[in-house]
Structure formats: structure tokens, C-alpha cells
């Protein structure tokens, strides 16, 4: 997993719960990296799972809830770091539809070894989008957070219903209705 996901995650934890919480989840976890992360490095996904598990236990917030908030936060990272990418879209549905064919392509230019989820458009109209998420990481709520912020970015809102196709969350359907 790319280092930026860790650094941004820890920044957000520090922001919301303080440096003590950061120290706690790192110390509590058994990390190969010893909690030393740099945005350009690559680290094991299991480290992220441990960090999330301990944060969830300590804050009594579900992992999904945490990932949702993190996803929302991560969108702002994209906004500041890659304004050009967002500027090329006029509409949130359009942008979400092109995750696979455009955004991930751009991501791979910067991080050639990034392991990215797969997004498949099932149905799409002007106001509605059905898109399937597939990833062994089951970080669908991270995606949901990004989607929420995407609508916000374009000054609109949407009802997004998440249906698990597989119970373990490795395959999830997003049914999006734009308001």
C-alpha cells in the first residue's frame, strides 16, 4: 500500500484525536515499518489493518465509519495536490464513472506499482449511476467517503446506497442517485 495512504491517515488521526492517539495505535500494532512512513514509500496493507483495528477499538468507532471519514479527508488531499485532474470534470457522475479509465490511469503514472481497486460501471444515466467496487482490501467506505466529497465538490448531493455483493465486502455495489 502506498505510503501516502498511511501518512495522510496518521495526519488525520493526529488532527482528530491528537498525537497521543497516533502514538498509541502505532505502539499497539506490530509494524514492520515501526510506524515510519513516507508518502513515496510502499508498505504492507496489514499495517493499515492493524492501525485501523486499534483506532476503532480505542475510539469505539466502526472501521467503516473511520474509512468513510478518511475517504472524505483524502478527497481534500486530491483537491490540493491534483487540481488539474478535478478541473477536467464538470459533473460528479461523470467523474465517478471514469475512475477506472482515467483517474486510475493517472494514478499509475505517479505510482506504477499501486494496487488499485476495480470499478465497473453497471448502469449510468444523467442522474443515476450504478458502479461495482472490487478489491481484496474491502475499503468500500473509503470509496464512499471519496464519492460524498465528489458530489460536494460539484455543489450537489446524492443518495448513495451501498449493497454488499459479497459479505466480506470485497465486492460492493454503489447505487448513486443524484439529487
Amino acid at each position: 500500500m502506498k505510503g501516502i495512504v498511511f501518512t495522510e491517515f496518521l495526519d488525520l488521526v493526529e488532527d482528530k484525536f491528537g498525537l497521543e492517539m497516533v502514538d498509541y495505535i502505532i505502539t499497539k500494532s506490530d509494524l514492520e515499518s515501526e510506524g515510519v512512513y513516507t508518502a513515496i514509500g510502499t508498505y504492507s496493507f496489514s499495517e493499515m489493518l492493524q492501525l485501523l483495528k486499534h483506532l476503532s477499538a480505542r475510539t469505539e468507532l466502526s472501521i467503516d465509519k473511520l474509512l468513510l471519514v478518511y475517504g472524505e479527508h483524502f478527497f481534500s488531499v486530491l483537491e490540493t495536490s491534483y487540481p488539474g485532474l478535478l478541473a477536467s470534470y464538470k459533473d460528479p457522475i461523470e467523474m465517478i464513472s471514469s475512475i477506472e479509465n482515467h483517474i486510475h490511469v493517472e494514478v499509475r503514472k505517479i505510482y506504477p506499482d499501486a494496487e488499485l481497486p476495480t470499478f465497473t460501471v453497471v448502469d449510468r444515466s444523467e442522474k443515476m449511476l450504478i458502479i461495482d467496487y472490487t478489491s481484496s482490501r474491502a475499503m468500500h467506505h473509503f470509496g464512499l467517503g471519496l464519492m460524498n466529497k465528489t458530489f460536494e465538490h460539484f455543489d450537489s448531493t446524492a443518495d448513495i446506497v451501498l449493497e454488499k455483493i459479497k459479505p466480506d465486502g470485497t465486492e460492493v455495489r454503489f447505487v448513486i442517485h443524484k439529487n
Binding site: L19, I26, E34, G35, V36, T38, I40
Partner: protein, 396 residues
Amino acid sequence: MNNEIDILKRALAREKSARKSAERILEEKSRDLYRISQKLETLLAEKSAQLQGVFENIIDAYVIIGIDGDILKFNDAAKRLFEYNIDEEPINVVQLIFPEDHEYAMNSFLDLKKYGYFKNYEARVLTKSGEVKWVHINASIVYDVGRVPIAAQGIVRDITEIKNLEVQKEKLLKKLEGSNDLLQEYAHIVSHDLKSPLRSIDALVHWIKEDNQGQLDETTIQNFKLIETALEKMELLITDLLDYASIGAKDTLKEEVNLNDLMRDLQSILFIPDHIKVIMPKKMPTVIGDPIKLQQLFQNLIGNAIKFSDKTKGEINIDVIELEGYYQFSIKDNGIGIDQKFHNKIFEIFHSLNKSKSSTGIGLSIVKKIVDMHGGKIWLNSELDFGTTFYFTIEK
């Protein structure tokens, strides 16, 4: 408090390590980049060397011009062709265009801009010394990575000599056509001028005989007869010569000729003695050609067959077979035959085998010329005393 300091210390230590790890990663990346760029440079150098080789060794002139028309690069051939050393004297492509071809050149440049290339441009250029040369150019636009046109490149071939030859050829053809026409005219005038005295002699001989009727001895009357025969032979010679000269003249026709009709006409023109039978078992085809000349062709060959018949029962067979792309005709007689050693010569003009009153030695030359004109070939099979078969082909 202590706890807080510990947390901060740990955080700081992590930040330091992270920085160092980032630096290490970056160093590795930059080493990677360096290696890659080294590789690319080597590759580029190789490709450049190859291109440079092509550029220098290409026989044709190779020219690169900027978008504004300034010449950016000349290879050695281009330097020799245009005589400019562009390193010392900058020139624009417009200076090279021959004034009369300016419009054509400008239109071609528009094409180049519009389509990205032009092909088979042929026009004149001016060299530094003011010499005019014909060139053939294929050109294309050179784009940068973003598909923005940055230059145009062209391969320029000097075709001056070819063009000159073409012009010369055209001139020669024109001249030849002119002299052919003139020759035709001459042939007619000469034939008139040659025939006039023959007529006069004939009239005078006639009058002498008439005016001295009963007073001339047998020898004189015989001599007058010989004069008349000589006159007829001379007249025939002139007529045949004129015919020969007329074949291949500009007014040759190309139309559908039904050879059955032609044969019917011929039978009424030719005098066929009673002891000679003309047999034509097959229906004749319709061919494309000049009707008068085709008639002359058959007339001469059948006429010859009649003329050289020496059997009590003469037979002339006219046949045709259809082959791929042409018809093959044959005219077979059972006459005197032609010795093998003359087979090659008989189509040559004035090569008469039989010095007779009715033969000028031009007939078969005319036949050959007509067959040539219709894209065919002529040959013969013959055995002395047994007869001759003439074969000829006519294109479909």
C-alpha cells in the same frame, strides 16, 4: 508530562526516520532515472547516428525547412543541387522557386499544411548561379510530441535530364509527325509529277501510230507496244510506292470491319480466272482496323496467289482461327512456291522475286506494313512447286 515528552520524542524519531527513508527512496529513484536516461541517451545517439548516416548518404537531396520557409538543413546532395551553403548564407525556400512555378509551389505548400504531406511535386527551381533545374519532391510535415508542426522535410530529386529528354522527345515526335505529313504531301506531288510525263508519252505514241497508220513496219509497231508496256509498269510502280508511303499516315482509321463484307467486295474487284477456285470455309470475324488498308492486305495476298498460280487447277484457301487476343488468318495456294532462302527477304521493299509486267516488289512490303499497323505478325510456309501459305495475325 513525561509520557507526553516520550510521545513527542517517538513522533520526532519517526519523522526523522521517515525523512531519511524518503531521502533514500528518492536517491534510488534518481539513480534509476539516471540509468534510464543513460540508456535513452545511448539509444538516441545510436538513432541519431543512423539518421545522420541516412541524411548524409542519401543520393537525393534532403531538405528541412522551418514553418516560415527558412531552410534549416541541407544534406550534401542538396548543397550540390542548390549550390548554397546554408551555414553561411541563410535562405528561404521561396528564393529557390522558379518564378513561373510560384503558384504551383504555393498550392503544394497549402496541401502540405492541410494534409501533412505532398507527393510527386514536379517543378523548376533556381540554383544560386541562376541555373534552372527540374526537381521531383516528396515532402512531409515534422511534428513535435504534441502534434504541433515544427518543420517540413523533403526529398528532392534532380529530374532535369529526364525532363529535358521528355521535352526533346516531344519535339522530335512533333517534328516526325510534321515530316510524315510532309512526306505524304511529297509522295502525292511526286507521284503526280512522275505520272504526267508517262501520260504524255502514251498520248504521243498513240498519235504517232494514229497519224502514221499503215506506214509503220512490224518492228516499229512491236517497239511501240514495248514502250506502252514499260509505261504501264512504271505507272504501277508509282501507284504502289504511293500506297506504301500512305500506310501509317495520320488519317488511318480504326473502326469495326466485317471481313465477310470485305471479302465479298474483293471477289468483285479481283479478276479470278476460271481455273482457280477460292475456298473460304469459315465465316470471317469482324476486326478493328482501317477498312481500306485491310482490303488492300487481303487483295495483295489473294492477288499474289492468283498471279503465281501455275497449276491447271488452282486452289486458294482462306482460313481463320481465333486465338487468345488475336485472330490468325491464312491464305494458302498451290502455286509456284517460294524458295526457303527468300522467305526473309520477300517482305522487304523492291524485293520482287519475279520480274514480271505486273509485279513491282512493293506488294508484300505493303502487306507487312499493314499487318504491323494492326499489331500483328506475318510469316509464311512454302515449298517450291507445291505452293505457299501466308499467315498473319490481327489484334482483336
